[in-house]
């Protein structure tokens, strides 16, 4: 590889890729920079001084809204969605390894769940709860609404995982006297653990950022994206950008943490 020439195409594509990254990260860095405005800064360039004022302001009580509470709700909801997504997708993945009546409709229902516009789900659940007389809440109706988005991803990922999972491992375990539960616990689970962590991360971030599906279903208390959306219409200071910066950093943190876990699982597998 050393000293091998790169083609012209490579350089053209490399520049294209670089521009794409600028496109991806450019606006994000714009609000990152703007969140460090001075106390009299506005929502647009040019910068009006540099300070941490708006981050401090973020920790204080705002005129309206409840950033802390909505963050806690979204975080909790994200965790709930994560756990349920992992468990239910895993179970469904296991189920799809066998044939059963209704497997194909269920599969396509999951696919449909992926493509049905969020707002329709939101509307449907909202109206249904209203008609049935159940109070919508972030931990109830919004939870369910989020699952219709995270589960199909989880199920499709598990589907792919099990497509590639050789039944020989389980047969070997059975041959060695493992009960079905032992086979699951000592063979299957450890082997697909990194994938499950991935599904979990996926579930968490999808839920943590979900807006449209929360819209009609969150009930009394806002989730963070609803709150952020509210802030975009109710806040006129860079505190909004500070919030953007902080939530972005939070996402990065969650992602790095997850990647860390996956790498760690991989290492543990490779080394011992």
């Amino acid at each position: 590889m050393a000293g091998e020439r790169r083609s012209v195409t490579f350089w053209i594509l490399a520049v294209f890729f670089g521009l794409f990254l600028v496109f991806l990260y450019g606006p994000l860095s714009a609000i990152l920079i703007l969140s460090f405005q001075g106390p009299s800064g506005g929502l647009t360039f040019p910068l009006n001084g540099v300070s941490l004022h708006w981050f401090r302001n973020l920790t204080e009580q705002q005129a309206v809204g409840d950033f802390g509470g909505s963050f806690r709700r979204s975080f909790t909801l994200g965790l709930m969605v994560m756990v349920v997504t992992v468990v239910v997708s895993l179970l469904a993945g296991l189920a799809f390894r066998r044939r059963f009546v209704g497997a194909t409709p269920l599969f396509y229902l999951a696919v449909a769940s992926l493509v049905v516009p969020s707002i329709i789900i939101s509307l449907g659940i909202g109206v249904m709860f209203q008609q049935v007389g159940i109070r919508p809440s972030w931990y109830g109706s919004a939870f369910g609404a989020h699952l219709t988005w995270t589960l199909p991803f989880g199920v499709l990922i598990m589907f792919a995982v099990f497509n590639r999972f050789s039944p020989a491992y389980e047969e070997a375990a059975r041959d060695l006297g493992a009960s079905p539960w032992q086979t699951f616990r000592h063979v299957l689970l450890p082997m697909i653990a990194p994938m499950l962590v991935g599904v979990g991360l996926f579930g968490f971030t999808l839920s943590y950022d979900e807006f449209a599906r929360s819209l009609m279903t969150a009930g009394t208390y806002n989730t963070l994206p609803l709150e952020i959306y509210g802030m975009t219409t109710n806040v006129t200071t860079p505190v909004l950008y500070a919030l953007g910066t902080v939530t972005t950093l939070f996402s990065f943190l969650v992602i790095s943490l997850t990647l860390g876990i996956i790498v760690w699982l991989g290492r543990r597998r490779a080394r011992g």
Binding site: T9, L13, A14, F16, F17, L21, L24, P27, L28, A30, I31, L34, L43, T44, V84, A92, L94, A95, F96, R98, R99, F100, L106, F107, L109, A110, V111, L114, V115, V116, P117, I119, I120, I121, L123, G124, I125, V127, M128, Q131, L147, T148, L151, L156, F159, T205, D209, F211, A212, L215, L224, P225, I228, Y229, T232, G244, T247, S251, F252, I255
Partner: protein, 304 residues
């Protein structure tokens, strides 16, 4: 797996014990599938059925009246605005699809075929992924200080003397809507295309080169046909996301443009649920037809 396929008729002499195991196995599959079926049933199927029902109800500004009227559909389908809005939404979908497909393909192609080490491929792919895991709303509004009349782009253009007055159409325009959507949704194209590209046997490329194909010919005759499934899956994602979008349209057009979902959202916020439901049904049918069309090209079960 094989167990379930087996014909019970073929094993007349099997004692009950064996059959019990098989029955338990089958039962296990149902138990394992049950949570998924239950959740999708309650939170997907039932709400959609509800919407279908409500789309025939009557309403006034405060209440819904269970009924069977066709006025919601008549008003929805009878208005030129609906058609315009659908057209507009399809226009967004088409433009965003074309752009994300173009960008997504080349980005995926670059990482898959021009980046040499697996580690670097993973790193670059992650670099593309990370912004997509942060708040969509934040990512969207982050364009405003960039594109505004006094935003970064205009300031730069003016400073460089390229324009004398700020370029108006950068923000609160279809351009802004499309730009933000491309920003939001490109990853949904990159990922599946990247996956299929990574699965292409490198020997095929060499075989093509060996047969005298130049770079373009390899791309056109080998890579593109083999990347089709990934492009189809990406298309499903992007098209359904754009068709369902309302917030990007609302924010980036400054409320000046409409999409079907935004129309629904407006109707919903004005408590016109049956009208929104009728719209939802039409939108749902349209989206499902589009997806079904794409699924004819690609068997997702096989792509997984």
């Amino acid at each position: 797996m094989a167990i379930a396929v087996e014909q019970p008729a073929a094993s007349p002499a099997r004692p009950a014990g064996a059959r019990l195991v098989s029955v338990l196995g089958r039962l296990a599959a149902y138990l394992q599938a049950a949570p998924l079926a239950l959740i999708l049933g309650v939170f997907l199927l039932a709400p959609i059925l509800m919407i279908v029902a409500v789309s025939f109800w009557d309403y006034d500004f405060a209440r819904l009246y269970p009924d069977f009227v066709l006025t919601n559909y008549a008003e929805t389908l009878g208005s030129w605005v609906t058609w315009r809005t659908y057209l507009n939404t399809l226009k967004y979908a088409a433009i965003v699809w074309a752009l994300t497909l173009f960008i997504g393909f080349w980005v995926a192609y670059f990482i898959a075929f021009h980046v040499r080490t697996a580690t670097m491929q993973t790193v670059l792919f992650l670099v593309c992924t990370v912004p997509f895991l942060t708040s969509n709303i934040i990512r969207m509004i982050s364009w405003i200080p960039v594109l505004g009349r006094n935003g970064l782009v205009n300031a730069t253009l003016i400073e460089m003397g390229l324009v004398s007055a700020p370029v108006e159409w950068l923000l609160y325009s279809d351009f802004a809507v499309v730009l933000a959507m491309v920003h939001l949704y490109t990853l949904f194209m990159v990922t599946p295309i990247f996956n299929t590209l990574m699965r292409i046997d490198r020997a095929l490329i060499e075989a093509a080169r060996d047969a005298g194909a130049n770079g373009c010919q390899v791309l056109w005759n080998v890579v593109l046909p083999l990347a089709k499934p990934g492009m189809a899956i990406g298309t499903i994602f992007v098209v359904t996301l754009v068709m369902a979008d309302f917030i990007t349209v609302q924010v980036m057009s400054g409320g000046q443009s409409a999409s079907v979902a935004l129309m629904m959202r407006n109707q919903m916020s004005l408590l016109q649920y049956p009208a929104a439901a009728a719209n939802a049904v039409v939108l749902l049918v349209l989206v499902l037809l589009m997806v079904a069309g794409i699924l004819r090209v690609v068997d997702i079960r096989k792509e997984l």
